[in-house]
């Protein structure tokens, strides 16, 4: 993946001042996404995955203090003037959020919102933009697109609204689409349809994509590479198949083990992870996962493990006592 890196996140830190002290939401993260590739970012609430995506999009809360570099197509987004950034967002860099009801304006029709985005970024007259809008709605699987243009968001179901949000995100042929929990608010049969739609459009447009999710199941079959985050840091990163075949980081293993499995017998006790993530305003000296880790010993509590290389190219993990390869519990 060395050739054609589209986005590279380099040593990014995001600090948020809070009444309880500084909250380090993102803690020295490095990531890269190649053109046309899909990266999954997985983690639980508060792990920093959403704050990281906001840092890439430069949509951080005003109080936030980011540092590091976010190189996109040769430019550092952290240092780009606001006007240039605005041209980039929506044009080359698009986003789909979790809740399509809050990302769509409730008092404007679907058509107004879609056509506005198209005309903001592309040199098209109204009729051309409208036709493009109709084509996009049809492409994302919305029946009777002509009529939908006249409707308001509340007249559509959650799944249809997410399709509209995807149509708007795709409207200017972005190079990178960031999908932040795109299906969490949707029912399971609709979730499958939306994930299929994203995958199909990605292939067709040769677009790069970042899927941010708490669900290991969502990234398993649908990404090239996965980064697992815990307490603001990337704790394991690997090509998707390598990650699931031989995970090295105990947190990744524990997260997968804690998922109820469809092929397990009813009433099988789940290997739960005890405790909960550390308070982000009170960072630990050692590994953030150590208090919950069954392998933790010695320096785990006094020293932070950095990302080191596994045998498989591209596989990195941050652990002093990694799971032995071959012995890793694969679910």
């Amino acid at each position: 993946m060395s050739s054609g890196v589209l986005l590279s996140v380099e040593d990014v830190v995001v600090d948020l001042p809070t009444p309880r002290g500084n909250l380090r939401a993102v803690d020295h993260v490095d990531l890269a996404v190649g053109a046309g590739r899909t990266l999954g970012i997985v983690g639980e609430s508060g792990c920093g995955k959403t704050m990281l995506s906001r840092a890439i999009l430069q949509l951080l809360p005003r109080k936030a203090r980011p540092s590091g570099r976010v190189m996109f197509d040769g430019q550092d987004l952290l240092r780009l003037p606001a006007e240039k950034l605005r041209r980039l967002r929506g044009r080359s860099l698009a986003v789909v959020f979790q809740d399509p009801m809050t990302s769509l304006n409730p008092v404007l029709t679907i058509g107004t919102q879609l056509i506005e985005t198209i005309r903001e970024h592309l040199e098209l007259d109204l009729a051309e933009a409208r036709q493009r809008g109709v084509d996009l709605l049809a492409a994302v699987g919305i029946p009777a697109p002509e009529q939908r243009l006249e409707q308001y968001p509340h007249q559509l179901s959650g799944g249809m609204r997410q399709r509209v949000a995807i149509a708007i995100a795709l409207s200017c042929e972005p190079k990178l689409l960031i999908a932040d929990e795109p299906t969490t608010a949707l029912d399971v049969t609709i979730q499958a349809q939306i994930l299929d739609l994203l995958a199909r459009e990605q292939r067709r447009r040769h677009m790069a994509m970042i899927i941010i999710t708490h669900d290991l199941g969502v990234v398993a079959g649908r990404t090239d590479e996965v980064a697992v985050m815990y307490a603001g840091r990337v704790v394991e990163r690997a090509p998707t198949s390598a990650l699931f075949k031989q995970m090295r980081m105990p947190y990744t293993e524990a997260l997968l083990a804690a998922l109820p499995k469809l092929d397990a017998a009813p009433h099988t006790p789940l290997p739960a992870i005890s405790g909960r993530p550390p308070d982000p305003t009170r960072p630990l000296k050692g590994c953030s996962f150590a208090p919950r880790c069954r392998y933790a010993a010695g320096r785990c509590n006094t020293e932070k493990p950095s990302l080191s290389r596994a045998e498989t190219p591209g596989h990195l993990y941050a652990c002093f006592h990694p799971i032995e390869t071959g012995a890793g519990a694969v679910a």
């Binding site: 959650g158 799944g159 399971v188 998922l259 009813p266 739960a272």
Partner: protein, 322 residues
């Protein structure tokens, strides 16, 4: 069709119909549902948003009036009970909700929140109440001395759900309805709460109705599973059997749609089966027919009844898969 779970079930719902009016229209939330739950059993109830699963749970407790049908709890029909008699019955049935933080009064201390059901049910001796609160908090894995004086906002979502479970169990109920009890929780916390529910079931001898949209979660805790779609039951059967050999095309669709955490299982491109119709105007005949690959003319004209497709397994389908 009676779905006989046991000769003497704890709960027996017969031909239950629940409807409500929205803007002059009628929402057919629960349409002619019959189901039984045996003593000591966990029945999982799955379905997508708007399928009527939560309404069914609330109708069992008489928190939603039924249009028709019966809810027999331990042989007593709750739909005809009122006042003190109904209140006495309700003490034996408790409810745990999805959002544990919203289910706790933010201005009351944990000790008072958990003691409240005891106060309402007339346990007058404060010493006795505090003993019971102490016992149940320890049972759900919280340190009573540390938590009773604190307020809900001082706790995480997982801890708040433990407090909700303690409150539900303090009256030593027979039956607990869990409505999406873990869907607001993170994966690592979810497993803790599911294990806790299983432990509490054994310790307090509970019968559970476990309502959720996540099939894997439901399978993890349920002896039998019932699948609902647009207000009707599609399929009921023993968990293992139902997941191994679903008979109703909707059950099969739900199972196929689950993202599996294994990259070797490439997600099959789903058949574009559209979205559920509105429960205000459900389709004629089989309500699933507008999304069903097997539907034909009969499905539009004739409501399929639940029929046995295998021992203990029932499906409401004219063209079952097994």
């Amino acid at each position: 069709m009676m779905l006989q779970a046991a000769p003497d079930p704890l709960l027996r719902v017969e031909n239950l119909v629940v409807e409500y009016a929205v803007g002059g229209k009628t929402v057919h939330a629960v349409s002619d549902v019959s189901i039984e739950i045996a003593r000591g059993e966990t029945l999982g109830l799955v379905g997508e948003s708007g399928c009527g699963k939560s309404t069914l749970g609330r109708a069992v407790l008489q928190l939603r009036p039924a249009v028709s049908g019966k809810v027999l709890f331990d042989g007593h029909d709750l739909t005809t009970m009122q006042g003190e008699a109904l209140r006495r019955m309700r003490r034996r049935v408790q409810l745990i909700f999805q959002d544990p933080i919203a289910s706790l009064n933010p201005r009351r201390r944990i000790g008072d929140i958990v003691a409240e059901p005891l106060v309402i049910s007339g346990v007058k001796d404060p010493g006795r109440r505090s003993q019971l609160v102490h016992d149940v908090l320890s049972a759900v894995g919280l340190d009573p001395a540390l938590v009773i004086g604190r307020l809900p906002h001082e706790f995480s979502g997982g801890q708040c759900q433990r407090i909700c479970i303690a409150r539900a169990l303090v009256l030593n109920p027979d039956f607990v309805i869990c409505d999406e009890p873990v869907s607001a929780l993170d994966v690592s916390i979810r497993a803790q709460i599911l294990n806790l529910l299983e432990e509490m079931k054994a310790r307090y001898g509970l019968t559970l109705l476990f309502i959720a949209h996540d099939l894997a979660v439901v399978k993890a805790v349920s002896d039998r599973v019932a699948v609902m779609y647009l207000g009707r039951l599609c399929e009921v059967g023993p968990s293992e059997q139902l997941f191994a050999r679903p008979a109703h095309p909707y059950t099969a669709l739900l199972i196929d749609a689950i993202p599996v955490p294994d990259p070797d299982i490439r997600p099959a491109e789903t058949v574009p089966v559209g979205e559920p119709p509105s429960p205000i105007a459900p389709p004629s005949g089989c309500r699933f027919r507008t999304r069903c690959p097997r539907a034909d003319a009969r499905c539009a004209n004739e409501v399929p009844e639940l029929r046995a497709v295998a021992p203990g397994q029932f499906a409401a389908c004219h063209h079952p898969l097994v």
